[in-house]
Symmetry: C2
Subunit: 206 residues, 2 copies
């Protein structure tokens, strides 16, 4: 029989409510009162676990990252697949998740990291730095895949670090377009373009 | 001697204040009171010209578009340049504008269209549709350039409509990364990657 820990349960309910409300709306649009109401907890409990809404959102970002790692990265980046197919698999899973969200809510919420980065980077330095750190981890994952593709001879001559950054930017940009058109088919049409992205050491603006 | 029209002048001051405040912060973070204070006008004047903050932001989006057309599109997309060099010129100008903003304010504000799309697409349908329309105009500009590059033999076999959409997504994604890292050099490093982006008619997810 599972043993319930009421404190852990309350903290988790606050986190889950914040994740859901903020992802579907925005940071500014969701107040502590709305989060408490959705979680069924009193404001006092909220401030027992989190010193501020920012503090909660930093925990929410960690929790989004863990979920993405479990449901997306660990599945798509399995070493069983050839390196470049892992990126295609990642794209395919992103599309399926967003498509299923639109089917159940009517809205394409987009990337929880990109959403918070765009809304808050000029206003909240700790949140900006936390998203920057998560993006940096993703770039490292992508770079490892590209380095492996260079080793297997599937790619050559590219700057793998810059190309990894370019690929992450492309994923985020396509997600923004899909959100703006509220249409997951934008992901289906554009994400295959990830395969063509290359940055070479000599590339430069005019 | 220039003739001043006080009504036009007041309306313009409200628009200019809203552009500046919202671009540097966010839609939710800037209220009508702050816009009036910044513009030096009374709330009554605000509601004489704009029925709501949303109504003002729709006008702000038109005004951002006109400014981008004049300062960026008309300069970069001059028919005097070979088609693919126009896209590189566009990238170069984007970088210079953001770099100069960071030098004067300390912050990289990002794309005013992408910012509002990400913050509001799930919450405000008229604003989402307005940004979607502006992105659609940009895609048409890009597609014309790509069609011309196909005619001159610089590109072949691509789906120009999908590739134009992919390029716009890439610009927006790179801008998001630069904003998250608060560093215009991200644009300098990644924007040359625009040249490699291609979507072919047969491209598909797994």
């Amino acid at each position: 029989m599972p043993v319930m820990n009421p404190a852990v349960d309350t903290q988790q309910r606050i986190l889950d409510s914040a994740r859901e409300l903020i992802h579907s709306r925005s940071y500014a649009d969701v107040g502590v009162a709305a989060i408490c109401r959705h979680a069924g907890v009193k404001k006092g409990s909220f401030y027992y676990f989190f010193s501020s809404k920012r503090d909660l959102v930093l925990a929410v970002l960690d929790s989004y990252y863990l979920q993405m790692k479990r449901n997306l990265l660990d599945v798509a980046f399995s070493p069983g697949l050839p390196p470049l197919q892992r990126l295609q698999r990642f794209a395919q899973l992103l599309y399926e998740v967003q498509k299923s969200n639109v089917a159940s809510t009517g809205y394409l919420f987009g990337c929880p990291f990109g959403n918070l980065a765009v809304e808050l980077s000029t206003q909240d330095e700790p949140i900006r730095l936390k998203v920057a750190e998560i993006f940096s981890r993703l770039r490292t994952d992508f770079r490892r895949i590209l380095d492996e593709a260079v080793k297997t001879g599937d790619l050559e001559g590219i700057d793998t670090e810059a190309t990894a950054a370019a690929m992450l930017a492309y994923f985020e940009g396509v997600m923004m377009m899909a959100k703006t058109q509220n249409d997951p088919e934008v992901l289906h049409q554009l994400l295959p373009g990830i395969a063509a992205i290359r940055i070479y050491p000599a590339d430069a603006l005019l």
